[in-house]
């Protein structure tokens, strides 16, 4: 079971509270996590990555295990502790404002 944390506004859109848990068959990659997340919550399509190119939206970051995975290949395997559910996969909005 994969644990995913998504930002406040996306939790509202998806109508979920707290972490989202996903079941993924096969290799656990960022692409697999986002595919599963969007399949379960279609309303999130286009909010995290472009619907056509699947490019990450610029003001979002992907973290796990105190690592910034935002620039990694979407097909790289995620850390084992994420794949096992010990650690969450974090989708984080960039801090901005004033």
């Amino acid at each position: 079971m994969i644990r995913v944390e998504i930002p406040f506004h996306l939790r509202n859109l998806a109508r979920v509270e707290g972490e989202v848990t996903l079941h993924i068959e096969g290799r656990v990659t960022q692409r697999a996590v986002l595919d599963a997340l969007e399949a379960r919550y279609p309303v999130l399509k286009g909010t995290i990555r472009d619907q056509v190119t699947h490019k990450r939206r610029p003001f979002l970051r992907f973290y796990a295990c105190e690592l910034d995975l935002s620039h990694d290949s979407p097909d790289d395997p995620l850390p084992e502790s994420v794949a096992s559910g010990a650690e969450p996969y974090l989708i984080v909005g960039a801090i901005a404002g004033g």
Partner: protein
């Protein structure tokens, strides 16, 4: 008695203000979609309880919301705005070609006759249409592939298609306006387009009377006389009496002819309203006095309307989509400010009162008269 419903889009959500036809006491509901930018929300003329809203965020992109009960509940609709074919390029600020990139929906214009048909004006400039109530969107690509499109250049606010006017008497005729390309008209329901900017003069572009490149801020028409179009350009208030084929200036005695919003009285096609703004470098009213100007002669002769509006220390702006008129016998005029106030006049502009004072910066105002 009719219900009046004012739909307000702001930097941080949507608000719905309601009153009876006296328009004296208002209730405010919201924020809907709190924290999101609501560039525009508008009701269907064919079904007033059908509302569409453009919800966007620099973080999370574009959402489209729809209500079938006048804004009580909302449903998230399709947000896939994909340019048809190879998008091509327009001109970037530095003069280089820049790929077309979808950023947001600026304006939603529901059909006069079909609640499920709605047009979306987007940045980078293009026109989309849904015929299934927002469940899917298709680009009317004849506009973006016009031969002039590679020369279109964004204004400071982006290359936004911000105004869509549907001709109520001719379903094949559509007007749109783009900053900073100008006005275009289609006479075949959006398949092909032609620029209609003859008579516009813009000193901020290399050729002041070029076919395209004008920063048109807003256009407006009266439904009973759709061949007459009024325009608030970056500078200059303009008028066309021939469906945009030619334009002439009607700024007349305005203290400044810079501004964003323009609208037409619901029952008097020659009565128009603008909010003069000091300059393109100072986006606030002259002398700290917020004044609407009204012309009862279709332009040139203007009178200031100030009763009930701030007479001092007012430095807000009124954006292009932030003025609307209702259709009651005594026509109501409404506008919102970047300071979060919404002002209403129940008597055609003679007197004004704030109907909301402390909202987030107002991006758009629309009004419905609901039986």
């Amino acid at each position: 008695m009719s219900l009046v419903r004012v739909l307000v889009g702001t930097r941080k959500g949507a608000f719905i203000l309601t009153s009876d036809a006296n328009r004296e006491r208002w209730t405010i509901e919201g924020p809907h979609f709190g924290g999101w930018e609501i560039y525009h929300l508008k009701g269907s003329p064919a079904d007033p309880d059908r509302l569409y809203a453009s919800q966007s965020s620099g973080w999370f992109g574009q959402m489209i919301q729809r209500s079938d009960d006048g804004g009580k509940t909302w449903k998230t609709m399709d947000n896939k705005f994909v340019y048809d074919g190879v998008p091509g390029t327009h001109q970037w600020y530095d003069g280089t070609p820049h790929p077309w990139e979808f950023k947001r929906v600026w304006h939603l214009e529901p059909s006069y006759t079909d609640p499920d048909t709605v047009y979306a004006g987007v940045e980078d400039a293009a026109l989309f249409r849904s015929t299934d109530g927002g469940a899917s969107w298709q680009e009317l690509h004849g506009l973006r592939t016009h031969e002039s499109a590679s020369r279109w250049t964004p204004g400071a606010g982006g290359l936004g298609l911000h105004t869509i006017l549907l001709d109520p008497n001719n379903p094949n005729r559509i007007y749109i306006a783009i900053s900073a390309a100008g006005v275009f008209r289609s006479d075949d329901a959006g398949q092909t387009w032609k620029p209609i900017n003859r008579g516009l003069k813009s000193q901020y572009i290399p050729d002041p009377d070029a076919e395209v490149g004008h920063c048109v801020h807003r256009i407006a028409m009266h439904a009973k006389r759709p061949n007459v179009i009024y325009m608030q350009k970056h500078w200059d208030v303009m008028r066309s009496d021939d469906a945009g084929e030619s334009w002439f200036e009607v700024s007349g005695n305005l203290p400044t002819d810079f501004g964003f919003a323009i609208d037409v009285h619901a029952h008097e096609p020659e009565t128009i309203y603008v909010v003069p703004i000091k300059s393109d470098s100072e986006h606030y009213p002259l002398d700290g006095k917020l004044r609407v100007y009204r012309s009862r002669t279709g332009g040139n002769d203007w009178e200031p309307l100030s009763k009930g509006l701030p007479e001092r220390d007012c430095y807000v702006n009124v954006l292009r989509d932030a003025m609307a008129v209702d259709s009651l016998d005594s026509c109501g005029i409404y506008f919102g400010t970047t300071g979060g106030q919404v002002y209403a006049s129940p008597d055609g502009g003679d007197t004004w009162a704030p109907i909301a004072r402390d909202l987030p910066a107002v991006l758009s105002v629309e009004v419905q008269s609901v039986p």
